[in-house]
């Protein structure tokens, strides 16, 4: 049996060289895709050390190129397909990233490929939307939706804590004539100042909200003496409105009427409690 001739060997060597070149080209192409990717890609070994990270991963994690190699970041895990992680930055403006994990091998050993996408902006706009849906745009106070939700939660907590809670209902006196005389933008400034004064009367555990128009409500939680606390809040509210408002260089008097309803019953209907506080407020207004 004779071996391959010199020509044949030469041919084979050429083929091997071509295949090697093709392989190197494919490798370089793949590498350039990963290196240029806007998403971070990292390979982490079983002990949690980074064995590869592309430039985007370095940027996202706040490291100069090459600095992540050998860093004991931790082995990446997700419960589902994807999870959200935060990236701790030195300036405390933390980033949010979506992380996908794919099981892989690196130099023949078990490893994980973690793909990271910066979703900080998306997160911020979602948080902003959620804030807008639950807060009054003018005063920044919680709106009716959020207030009712907090009231429901507070009622549920009554079951455990055997305390009581009170709802204070307040509306401004003489707001409409001010609005008619000076215009809506002026009225808006009055509402903003009213919200600020109301907020100053609160204890840290209380929640103030704007229901709409010139109507405000306050939820007073974890109180042993609901009547005593609510009465002192009413006095503080009236004192907070004793001084005239100074709006755009004009001094105006804005009064406030407030009433409250208290309950220790976890089964109490939130709407019914609000109605009772509203009635108490009108009764006080009528006595003036």
């Amino acid at each position: 049996m004779t071996g391959p001739g010199a020509d044949e060997l030469g041919e084979l060597r050429c083929q091997v060289r071509d295949l090697r070149r093709q392989l190197a080209d494919a490798h370089a192409r793949l590498r350039s895709i990963v290196e240029r990717s806007a998403d971070g890609a990292m390979v982490v070994d079983a002990h949690g050390a980074v064995v590869y990270a592309n430039p985007a991963a370095h940027r996202l994690l706040g490291h100069a190129d090459g600095e992540l190699l050998g860093e004991h970041l931790g082995f990446p895990v997700t419960a589902g397909e994807v999870t959200e992680v935060e990236i701790v930055t030195s300036d405390r403006a933390h980033l949010v990233a979506e992380m996908r994990v794919v099981a892989t091998e690196w130099d023949g050993r078990t490893a994980a490929l973690a793909l990271l996408r910066d979703i900080t902006e998306r997160h911020r706009s979602q948080a902003e939307l959620a804030h807008r849906a639950t807060h009054d745009a003018l005063t920044g106070l919680p709106n009716r939706y959020l207030f009712t939700d907090r009231l429901r939660q507070a009622l549920v907590r009554l079951q455990r804590e055997h305390d009581s809670l009170a709802v204070v209902f307040a509306d401004l006196d003489g707001f409409k004539p001010l609005n008619d005389r000076y215009g809506h933008p002026f009225g808006d400034l009055v509402l903003i100042e009213a919200a600020r004064r109301l907020t100053m009367t609160l204890r840290p555990s209380d929640t103030a909200a704007r229901l709409g128009g010139d109507e405000f409500v306050i939820l007073c939680e974890d109180i042993h003496d609901a009547t005593g606390v609510a009465t002192s809040i009413l006095a503080r509210i009236e004192a907070a409105f004793a001084q005239p408002f100074r709006i755009r260089g004009t001094s105006v008097r804005v009064g406030i009427s407030a009433g409250y309803a208290a309950t220790g019953d976890p089964e109490c209907d939130p709407e019914e409690l609000l109605r009772r506080a509203d009635d108490a407020m009108y009764a006080r207004k009528a006595r003036r």
């Binding site: 002990h47 994690l61 004991h72 990446p76 895990v77 997700t78 419960a79 992680v85 935060e86 701790v88």
Partner: protein
């Protein structure tokens, strides 16, 4: 008895994080026995110097401080089985293995 000391680094300890830590704690309790481990939760915003000393770059990070060698994992605290594998904790005797 081998004693396990685990530290969970989170960005801020809100209700969602507390619930996830509880799920992880229950999983550890089944794997290690209720008395054989401690979990310490570190809020990175409240303790930036601790996070810096430990070079915490991503939260949540879970560190097995003891027994040595130390092990670290990052990602979803609810991925209890994958976390246990990454931190080399014993198998859960109830489901007897890793589901994730």
């Amino acid at each position: 008895m081998t004693r396990y000391e685990l530290t969970v680094y989170v960005l801020r300890e809100d209700n969602r994080v507390r619930a996830a830590v509880e799920a992880f704690r229950r999983s550890c309790s089944r794997r290690l026995g209720a008395e054989a481990f401690d979990i310490c939760v570190v809020d990175v915003l409240a303790n930036p110097e601790l996070a810096e000393a430990e070079r915490i770059i991503v939260t949540p990070t879970v560190v097995r401080d003891l027994p040595l060698p130390r092990r670290r994992a990052i990602g979803d605290l609810l991925a209890v089985d994958a976390l246990a594998t990454a931190l080399e904790l014993p198998e859960d005797p109830i489901d007897g293995g890793d589901r994730s």
